[in-house]
Amino acid sequence: MKLKAVTLLLFLLPLPLAAQGLDPSAILHPAPGSWPTYNGDYSGRRFSPLKQINAANVKDLHLAWLYHASTGPGALPFGQEIKSTPLEVDGVLYFTIPDHAWAVDARTGREIWHYKWQSQGGIHTGNRGVAIYHDWLYFETPDDHLICLDKNTGKLRWAVVIADLDLEYFSTPAPLVVNNHIIVGVGGDSLDVPGYLEARDPETGAVQWRFNTEPSPGQPGSETWPNAQAMEHGGGMTWLTGTYDPDLNLLYWGTGNPNPVHAPQSRKGDNLYTCSIVALNPDNGKLVWYFQASPHDTHDWDDVEEPVLFDAEVNGKPRKLIAQAARNGYFFVLDRTNGEHLVTSKFDPDLNWSEGVNEKGQPIPNPAKQPQTDGTLVNPASDGATNWPPPSFDPQSGLFYVSSTPSYSVYYLTDTSAHPEGYGGRDSIVWAESALVALDYKTGNIRWRHVYPGDGGSLSGILTTAGKLLFTGDPSGNFIAFDPETGRPLWHVGLTSTVSNGPMTYELDGKQYLVVGAGENLYAFTAPSGGK
C-alpha cells in the first residue's frame, strides 16, 4: 500500500519537462514510440523501431478505437480527407484537414479539442499536418496563414500571412520545426507565381529567412532562364514537408514544377531550382547544393516527394545517402553531404518521356514528349508515377518502398503564344493502375512490385516497422500489412475508403498503437491483449 501512495504522489507532481511541451531537441532523437514530427523523425524513413505488433501476431490485430473527424457545416464540394500524418506528443494525437486541427487522446480516440479557421478561400485540396514546438502547435491553411495554437487548449495564439491569396497561392505542408525555426512551404501554380521556402519565428511568426526557388538575375542558376520576367513567374512550389540532417546541419526540400506549367516556350532552359532537391542551411536559408530531377519540366511533375535520409553502404563504403522516388517516375540516390549522384533508375518501368540519363544522373527530356497542340501520349500522367503520399525506407530489409501509379495521359498544349500563362495546356488521363514498389537502393533495381487488382490510380502512404511489417493501403480501401522482404500480404482490413494519409505508430503504457487515416476517419489498431 505504501508503494501505491508513493506512486500516486509521483503522478500528482508536475513534470517540469511536460510543462514545457515538446523541446526541439526531442525531435532530434525521438523517444522510441513517439511521433513528434511529420515523418516521425527528421530522416523521412518512416521506419518505427517498435515491434510489439509484428509478423507473428499481425493477423490478429484489432481495432482499439475509431475517430470520425467531422468538420461541420460548410463542407467543401470535393469532400474532406485526412491527408495529414498525426503527431503523437505526450499521449495526444494532433492532425488536420484543411482549415481544421484536432487534438485526440492517443489511447482512447476521444476528442480533446477541435479548432476551426474561418477561411477566406484558396484551394482546399489537402493539408499534411502540424508541427509542435514546446506548447505551441503550427499549421498552414488554404488561405495562406500560418496558425499558432496552444497545443493544450486549441486556443489561437496568432495567425500570420505567409503568401498572397490573391496571387493564387495556397498552403498545404506540415510545417517543420528545426531548432528555433518553423519552416513553412507554399503551393499554387495557377498564375505563374514564384515559389519560396521560409523560416518563421516560433514566438511571433516573423520571417527569419526566405529561400527563393528562382535565382535573381546575375545569380548562379539565372543562366537556366531566358530572362528576369520568366524567373519572376517561374513557379517551383515548396508544398511538401522536407527532411533534416542535424549532423550536417542541412535541410532538404523538394521544389515543384516550373511555370507556365505545360507551355514552356517562354522559359527555355533547365529552370533552376524548380523540380529539384535543394539542400539548405537551416540557419540562414542559403543553398548548399541541389539536384534537379526534371530539368525543364513540362508535365507538372513537382519534385516535392520526400527526400529520405539514411546511412548505408555503397560499393563497400559507408555513405550518408538521400533517396527520392520522384513524380517523374525515376528513383534517385545521392550522397547527401554534397549532392553527388550515385544511382538513377526507373520505378515506373513504362515511362516514355526521356531520352535516357545524363552524366549527372538526370533524365534527359524528349522534346517530342512535351505537350503538343495535337497531343502526345505520355507515361506517367500529370499526377505522376507517385505523388506526395509518404514512401518508406526500411533499414532491416535495405529496401525503399513507394506507392506508384503507372499511367498514360495525352498532354495537349493549349497556349501557343510567345507569352503563355498559367498551365498553358492540359492533360487527359486515359489509364492508370496502382502498385507498391520495393527498390534496392544500391542498384535502383526493383526487388518486387505488387500490382493491385483494384480500379484505377490510387496512392497511399507507407510505414515500415521493426516488427518486419510494411503498412499501406490499396485502391479498394484495404489497409494491408505486407512482408517487406517479399511483398506478400500478411493481414488486411477493409476501411470506409482508401488510406488517405501516411500510417504512423507509437507506444503508450507498453502498448503499441497503429494509426491510419481513411477519408474522414482515423483508425487505431493494437495487437491482441495489447501484445502482453
Partner: protein, 312 residues
C-alpha cells in the same frame, strides 16, 4: 508453401513481378481520388472536355469551387471593359492584356490580382499613370469605366487560372490512310467501320474519341465523359473446390476477395482465405486496348484518330 492455386497464379502473374502485368485486371474506371496536390480530385483528368460546352453548369461551378476561383465578372461589364481596354490600353499591354510593345502582362500583375475586379487598385494607376515607367495618365476615365476595365481584367485572370476551361486546339492532324491500315492490322478483329464504329465521329468530340480508343474505361466522376460502355465490362468465372462454377460481370476484385453479378442480377462474393482452392479467371475485353496503349507512337495515335474522324 500452402498457397492456393489462384494465389500462386496471381502473384506470379502480377503481384510480385517486376514485369508489366498484362494478366492483371486493369481498372475500368479511374479512381480519381488519387492524391495529387493540384489535381487530387482531378477534374483535369476527364475526357470529353474538348469543347467544354458539354460541361454542365453544375460541373463548371464545382470546378470553379475546387480551383477556388471567385464569382465570375459581369459579362456586360467585361464587354464594355474589353472595348475600352483594346482601344486605349491594348497597344502597350496587348489586346488580351498579356503584355505588348511597352507594357507588362496585366493578367498576372500583383496590382490587378489585388484589385479583384473592383477598380479600387487599378483606378489610381490608370488615373495617375506611372511616369517613372513611361505609362501615361488617363485622368478622364470615369469610375464606371475603370470598373469595367477591372471586370475585363478579372475575366482574363480567371480564364488563365481555370485550366479546365482551356480550349484544346485541332487534334485531327494524322493521316487517315495510315490510320486505316493500322486499324485493319490491329483493331479489326473486334471492331468495324461499318458495324460498331459506324458514324462514331458524330457521337464524340475528337478529344473524347481519342481517349476512348486509347482506353475506353474513363472516369465519369463529373459526368463529363461518354457513358459507360457495357462492352468494356470485365467478366469473371469463379470455380469453387467443389467444382461448382459461377460466372458474371466482375463487380469487385482485390487481393482478398472477388465479387460478381450474374446475368439474373444476383450478386455473389467470396473471400479467398475462407474458400481454399478457389479459382478466379477474369476475362478482360480491354486487354488488347491496354496492350496497344503501351505500344502506340504519337503518330499512330494521330493517324488512328484521323481515320476514326472519317467515320461520320
Amino acid at each position: 508453401m500452402v498457397l492456393r492455386t489462384w494465389a500462386v497464379c496471381f502473384f506470379l502473374a502480377a503481384g510480385i513481378s517486376a514485369a508489366p502485368a498484362q494478366q492483371q485486371t486493369p481498372p475500368d474506371q479511374q479512381n480519381t481520388q488519387t492524391q495529387g496536390q493540384k489535381n487530387s480530385t482531378s477534374p483535369n483528368q476527364q475526357q470529353g472536355a474538348q469543347a467544354n460546352p458539354q460541361n454542365s453548369e453544375a460541373v463548371r461551378e464545382a470546378i470553379r469551387n475546387f480551383l477556388a476561383i471567385g464569382a465570375p465578372p459581369n459579362p456586360e461589364a467585361v464587354k464594355r471593359g474589353q472595348a475600352i481596354f483594346v482601344s486605349t490600353c491594348g497597344f502597350c499591354h496587348g489586346p488580351n492584356a498579356t503584355g505588348g510593345a511597352q507594357g507588362p502582362n496585366l493578367v498576372r500583375s500583383t496590382v490587378v490580382l489585388h484589385d479583384q475586379g473592383t477598380g479600387k487598385e487599378i483606378g489610381p494607376v490608370v488615373h495617375n499613370g506611372r511616369p517613372g515607367k513611361g505609362m501615361p495618365s488617363f485622368p478622364n476615365f470615369t469610375d464606371a469605366q475603370i470598373h469595367d476595365i477591372a471586370q475585363f481584367l478579372l475575366g482574363r485572370t480567371q480564364a488563365a487560372a481555370n485550366r479546365m476551361e482551356y480550349s484544346i486546339q485541332n487534334i485531327v492532324t494524322g493521316s487517315p490512310q495510315t490510320g486505316q491500315a493500322y486499324f485493319q492490322a490491329h483493331c479489326s478483329t473486334c471492331h468495324s467501320a461499318a458495324g460498331d464504329l459506324a458514324h462514331i465521329a458524330t457521337k464524340y468530340e475528337p478529344v473524347a474519341l481519342e481517349g476512348r480508343f486509347l482506353y475506353p474505361g474513363n472516369s465519369h466522376e463529373f459526368g463529363m465523359g461518354p457513358p459507360p460502355d457495357p462492352r468494356a465490362e470485365k467478366h469473371v468465372t469463379v470455380t469453387l473446390p467443389s467444382g461448382a462454377t459461377y460466372s458474371g460481370v466482375l463487380a469487385h476484385l482485390d487481393d482478398f476477395s472477388v465479387a460478381l453479378r450474374e446475368s439474373s442480377g444476383v450478386y455473389r462474393s467470396w473471400v479467398f482465405d475462407d474458400v481454399k482452392g478457389i479459382k478466379v479467371e477474369v476475362q478482360d475485353p480491354l486487354a488488347e486496348h491496354l496492350k496497344l496503349l503501351h505500344q502506340y507512337s504519337d503518330a499512330d495515335m494521330h493517324n488512328i484518330l484521323a481515320y476514326l474522324e472519317t467515320l461520320k
